[in-house]
Amino acid sequence: MSENALLNSYPELANVWDEMFRAEGTRPEYRHFVAAIENLQGSEMTRKAELAKKLFLSQGVTFTVYSSGEGIEKIFPFDIIPRIINHAEWVRIEAGIKQRLRALNIFLKDIYHQQFILKDGIMPAALVYSCPQFLREMVNVDVPHDIYTHIAGVDLIRDHDGELYVLEDNLRTPSGVSYMLENRSITYRIFPDLLPKSNVLPVKDYPDLLFRNLLALGARQASEATVVLLSPGIYNSAYFEHSALARLMGIRLVESRDLIVHNHFVYMKTTKGLARVDVIYRRVDDEYIDPLVFRPDSALGVSGLYWAYRKGNVAIVNAMGNGVADDKAVYCYVPDMIRYYLNEEPILKNVPTHRLDDPEKREHVFANMERMVIKKTNESGGYGMLIGNAATEEQMADFRTAISQDPRSFIAQPIINLSSAPCYIDGVLQPRRIDLRPFALYGPSGIDIVPGGLTRVALREGSLVVNSSQGGGSKDTWVLGPSS
């Protein structure tokens, strides 16, 4: 053990897996990092933390909160201590995510075409047809290269015994990748030389890989396809990410009013007249994307886009209708999908999940509510969720009523004791709970996962909710290369 006060005073949480420390000292993947900060004074760490904050502000890495009609920019809190993953574990994560995505992608193709999985009785048809994100409009639509899940942000968590679980698959419009990129660029400025010396694999290829995949989807026989990023606009909290990605890929950032559909082709309005669009990386949800087909009151979509898509005149990324595959009740069947479609055993585990439309399970969950997390099947961002051991009697009663009325819309999972990682808060290292969201890109040439991802941190002491809308922050995520 080191003599450093910062490291020695770290209070470990009982019955929680810590990413950096174990009983007999620092984990091997952190050794290099610890050696580098061991000799730093407390004040130097504080200076680094302040520098990081300043860099975020001056780079404009902010999200916007609108209150009383005026935008206020906030930074997404960043913790300077990286989360480090060793190479062997990463290889397993990578293989596990690729396996899941292959199965989920086949599932989407299947469920919107022949539906073998229902006919073979692997999954109940009622579950699929009762999912609000199952789009009948997508039935028998052929998508380019049969790829639905071009971009996925799979959320992984680690339980107290060190086992990794997949919590959510996020196949619609996962966000956060710009923070993965920004966090890395802040780290190499506040810890000079540390990244190359620690054998950390780079994440900077993400925009290039994404752009390559987007271009490959432009089916038109043109010298180069026109790719745009469709954003809901400046009022969206992820607008920074939209403009950052557009800039990094050198594509246009468009809003709904920039696009029109004419004769089933999509065009953008430029000062030179209309220009054909071949590929749309959209950050607008399914239900808003075409007011003629989905929500008629949507001002974020483009009228006629759905038919242009159906005709194959434009590629949309991610495909419409993916919500049926990351529905929290359909999630229970992902291990079965992997066995059914791929004839493989799942590499990454699912969190044990109870569907509440089964009366027996419902009774079991009601009896053990204080040990359960209850979630709505179609919500995200840490909303519509009840954590049993932190809820009041009243909240539990409310959930019971809601569940009894509409059991299909809820699932229950045991409370997973998320692993902790040290965070530099108020001048000392304190344990905070974390998760991991690697970003996977599925293109015609295969699946790529840049080594890294977004590690989200529940900054409130004792909290298990890592979402940025609920007081979460983030860390840079290092994946170490194979040891030479």
Partner: protein
Amino acid sequence: MLSRVADTIYWLARYLERSQAMLQVLRINYIASQDEQAFEGWRPLLYTYGDLTEEEITATVGDTAQVLGHLIFDRDNAVSVYNNIVQGRENARAVQDHITKEVWLSLNDYYHAIRQEDVARLVQVEDPVSGIDFLFKQGLLFAGTVQHTMPRDEGYVFLSMGKYLERALQTADIMRLKQEAFAPNTEPHHSAAGLRYLLYALFGYELYTKTYKGVITPENVLEMLVYDEDFPHSLAYSLGQLQRYCERLRDQSLPESYDHLHFLIGKAKNNVAYSSFQARNGPALAQFLQQTRSELFEVAGALNTHYFGNS
């Protein structure tokens, strides 16, 4: 360039140019209200730059602090200077990747400045002139930052077109506001005072005294405000600049769009250059200003249809 981006940049420039014109008119009107016996009151400005009903105007018009508060800081007045700046900043935020970081920061600073309580206090309670000057300088900083840092690309062209179109409109509007000073039945002393404030409001007083040796006549004032190509707030100057920037769009436009826009600007410019009427002929002046205004609106309409895709 995307039509929306061009539209947003163009309006960004218009909001800022309009704020500058408003602040200067308010500043000069305030000085006149203190120092001029024949002060015409705030009513015309409240009609032009405010959104109050007739009764509200009657209730407000006697109280300078209230008038300035409404026209500059009132968040409920959609056309107050405050809301112009808020809008300008929102526009800048939406096109951050098409303007320089410095331009964005200068607008952001302006926005934070106009939100400060003590600036509103300065204008309404302490010294309105210092307060307005402070805001005005923020606008100058924006204009200078654009000059200094923006690449001379298509975005800059739309920024400049917005600026000069708005400036021409403001010159025509401010002349209309003060057109009584040109009228022959106005008593000579009052007429000269009115014309002097008009010159001040358009930043032309110094140039005028240098050019015309201090004698203020309606003919000379009209000559300068309408025809003088060296005076940066004359109609001729603004329209000349508008034409110049329009011509830089030639290679980046559909031919028919460019031809129509260029034709309308040329028409407006020539109608101003070759206008001939007596300065003291009130109806003729009013008709001229009205016609200029509607021709400028036609130019704005052509930009809207051909370049911004708002048909």
